[in-house]
């Protein structure tokens, strides 16, 4: 509950309170008792905004839900971040949306990128007497305050309609291990949920994702005629295509994904140490195998109600059947974002050569994360 201490707000609040008391047939004793009930609080905000408007001043930005807990749901793309976002968002206390694109200074179109590319902002930070001692820190702090404010303000809007949401999270797949470090410096105290998936399944999923985002089906990615032919061959008969021993991957694609998975996921796990208890890691595979256990743990970590009934409802709301619009898990639709929803599908796709390349780039991380015991696979 806000405590009105500013002079102006104080006067207005007192005036409004007197008015409300009069309405209720009470007398105002005139003491600056500013603890007012919630609904009167809202009434006061409304009247104050009205008063500001009448005074010719602009309306204030609607009050964000101050101090609401904030979390970030991160993971390498194609690792289940969207699935988990939907799952969490179905919880009555959690608002989880994406993608905020807040972090990573070197990822174009992120907020961090936008702020750090602003010459005016950089010049100001470097020269203002309030920031010039540590301009980089200044930029991170601007980023952090703005991120928290934007998320909490949206939460406030949703809360006004639903009344139950009180924790807010952003889902953003990361491109690099910078994301978790940026969160740590810009938003200290925020919680981080990191979902990890076997890099080989990530690779298979990415290949299908590329096919789905090709320019010939309205996407942004240019495919060579060869790749388009490959996609069509696979889609007309997946098992026949795989039986030929051809790789589903374009030249160099496996290496590229394996390298990025190794760097970004491996780096994120390393950087996570500095977040301590604010970091929670879970596996796509565990979420599939034991959803109730994993979801309860996750809700406990986030400080949300983790009663059995709620856990079951969240799992159900984000079941593969729900998300895919009726298909059973394992029933593939190569053109769907929710394609197949299983673990270990790489075994059906990887050629010997694909495996060799992946092992070379990220074999050790697979072992470190417990996906393999050694390199003999």
């Amino acid at each position: 509950m806000p405590v009105f201490t500013s002079h102006t707000a104080f006067e207005i609040a007192r005036g409004v309170k007197a008015f409300l008391n009069l309405e209720a047939g009470l007398t105002c004793n005139g003491t600056p008792d500013l603890q007012v009930s919630r609904d009167k609080d809202e009434e006061i905000s409304r009247l104050r905004a009205e008063l500001a408007r009448l005074r010719g001043a602009p309306r204030p930005v609607s009050s964000p839900t101050e101090e609401a807990p904030i979390f970030f749901l991160i993971g390498r793309s194609k690792s289940g971040t969207s699935w988990l976002m939907r799952l969490l968002n179905s919880h009555p206390e959690i608002l989880c949306r994406g993608e905020g694109m807040f972090f990573e200074e070197n990822t174009s179109r992120s907020l961090f990128w936008a702020l750090s590319r602003s010459e005016g902002v950089q010049a100001w930070l470097a020269r203002s007497p309030w920031t010039r001692q540590a301009p980089d820190e200044g930029l991170e702090n601007m980023l952090g305050t703005f991120v928290s404010q934007a998320m909490r303000q949206r939460l406030e809007g949703v809360r006004k309609r639903t009344g139950t949401k009180k924790i807010v999270g952003d889902k953003s797949p990361f491109k690099s291990a910078d994301t978790i470090r940026d969160i740590g410096t810009a938003c200290p105290g925020a919680k981080v949920v990191h979902i990890i998936r076997d890099g080989r399944d990530v690779a298979v999923s990415s290949a299908h994702h590329r096919w789905n985002n090709a320019t010939d089906v309205g996407g942004h990615r240019n495919l060579t005629p060869d790749q388009v032919a490959k996609r069509e061959a696979y889609r007309s008969d997946p098992s026949a295509f795989l039986a030929t021993g051809q790789s589903i991957f374009a030249e160099g694609h496996v290496a590229e994904i394996a390298r990025n998975w190794n760097e970004s996921v491996g780096g994120t796990v390393e950087n996570a140490a500095s977040l301590g208890e604010n970091y929670h890691e879970l596996r796509y595979e565990d979420l599939l195998a034991e959803p109730l256990v994993e979801v309860r743990r996750l809700l406990e970590f986030l400080g949300a109600d983790s009663g059995d009934k709620l856990v079951r409802e969240c799992v159900k709301a984000a079941s593969f059947e729900q998300l895919s619009g009726g298909r059973a898990q394992g029933e593939e639709d190569s053109s769907s974002f929710y394609r197949k929803g299983i673990a270990g599908d790489w075994k059906n796709h990887f050629t010997t050569e694909d495996s060799r390349i992946f092992k070379e780039e990220a074999g050790k991380l697979l072992i470190r994360l417990g996906y393999e015991k050694n390199l003999d696979w």
């Binding site: 707000a9 005074r55 902002v121 934007a150």
Partner: protein, 401 residues
């Protein structure tokens, strides 16, 4: 330096929460205050004064901590919460720096500048490595003109349904609030002010939109004196290499004035080129006139004015009033201390008021110096451009001067 994941060498841990944690329950020792209380001021009742002052200090700190618990993170939305932030404004050469020094010498107030937060319409194009001490364009300008930032706001799932300008205002408020209060938290003080000279006509409107709970002190000086002062600054800056701002003829007049301060008035030539004087008068009328109007209408009880001339003739009275306005301790001993530590003698390092040094920022420090410099022609020009505002502000009764 941002690339290391944990400790940044030389940096303290970047905790945005720092301003709050310091105020959270435990009250820091105030060595600076104690030292000042025991040495700077003669003991008048000794410990009781110190104890009283300290009690006030802690009480205010506690209130501030309570206010903060619900405020800082909230940003532009939480305009109902208290803020320790204020702004000192005024047209350049009107005493903003003097007033800033007075306030900063108060044991509870941190005041410096220029942060250049506001004035979205003001920017400078000549920022090169050669003038690396020059101030940048305002933060508001930088934010408003960042196309990438605007695009992000328009696209992000967290902001795309809202008015982008409201988000920019929120970002302005959050950044301003953060930068000022985080430095404040590293001191023993409880109020923080930025010296923000008027750059354009929109300052008060912007403050009222972005930071409606911040207090604003507007220092006003007779436009004729500030114009004389401004011309001297032009010559000083020309000596520092900013030649392009003045014409050759103006530079010559500066030389002539330096050789014989009275000659230019006697010959009727005067120190000003007519257009320069008219421009300065118009500038004063527009910016000061608008600031007064908007300050009173839009900022209301969080806005106050002070005259340079009043600060000269009755400093203690005025400083006491301003401290009360800010909510700082206005004990007479503290007022005396503030006035004294920003006296002309101290600021000019030893000269008395009226003893001129054209090469100093603290040149002469008097009111009414324009009478020594204005020719009849200058007066006529100024009257035409800004005579009404002089009357409105009580500097003249009519146009017969």
């Amino acid at each position: 330096m941002r690339r290391t994941s944990t400790g940044k060498s030389g940096h303290r841990a970047p905790a945005r929460d720092r301003p709050r944690t310091d105020l959270d329950g435990r009250y820091p020792e105030i060595p600076g205050f104690e030292k000042y209380m025991s040495s700077g001021i003669e003991s008048n009742g000794g410990t009781s004064l110190l104890a009283r002052a300290r009690g006030l200090y802690r009480g205010r700190l506690r209130r501030l901590a309570n206010g903060k618990a619900t405020s800082v993170r909230g940003g532009a939305g939480s305009e109902a919460s208290s803020t320790p932030v204020f702004f000192v404004t005024g047209l350049g050469k009107s005493g903003t720096r003097w007033l800033t020094k007075i306030l900063d010498s108060h044991p509870e107030i941190l005041c410096k500048g220029e942060g250049r937060f506001f004035s979205a319409g003001w920017h400078r194009a000549d920022l090169g490595p050669e003038n690396d001490r020059a101030l940048a364009s305002s933060l508001y300008y930088a934010l408003e003109h960042s196309d990438h930032l605007r695009l992000w706001i328009e696209r992000s799932v967290w902001s795309r349904n809202d008015d982008p300008d409201e988000h920019l205002k929120a970002l302005m408020r959050l950044a301003t609030d953060y930068f000022l209060t985080s430095q404040l938290s590293e001191t023993d003080k409880i109020l923080v002010g930025d010296k923000s000279p008027l750059q354009d006509e929109e300052f008060m409107r912007e403050v009222s939109e972005v930071y409606p709970v911040a207090k604003v002190i507007h220092i006003i000086r007779d436009g004729r004196d500030r114009t004389v002062s401004s011309m001297h600054r032009g010559w000083r800056r020309a000596n520092q290499g900013y030649l392009h701002r003045l014409t050759a003829e103006e530079l010559a007049r500066g030389e002539a004035l330096r050789e014989d301060p009275k000659k230019l008035v006697q010959t009727g030539e005067g120190m000003f080129k007519e257009e320069r004087l008219r421009q300065a008068a118009r500038h004063w009328r527009l910016l000061v006139g608008r600031a007064i109007q908007d300050g009173q209408a839009l900022i209301g009880s969080n806005y106050t004015e002070v005259r340079y001339e009043d600060l000269l003739v009755r400093p203690n009275e005025e400083v006491e009033r301003l401290l009360g306005f800010l909510g700082a301790d206005a004990d007479p001993k503290i007022v005396e201390h503030c006035v004294d530590s920003a006296s002309f003698e101290k600021l000019s390092r030893g000269r008395e008021r009226g003893e001129e040094d054209p090469s100093s920022f603290y040149r002469k420090g008097v009111a009414g110096d324009w009478r020594n410099h204005f020719t009849a022609e200058d007066s006529r020009s100024f009257k035409e451009e800004a005579g009404e505002l002089l009357i409105q502000l009580g500097y003249e009764k009519d146009l017969d001067w």
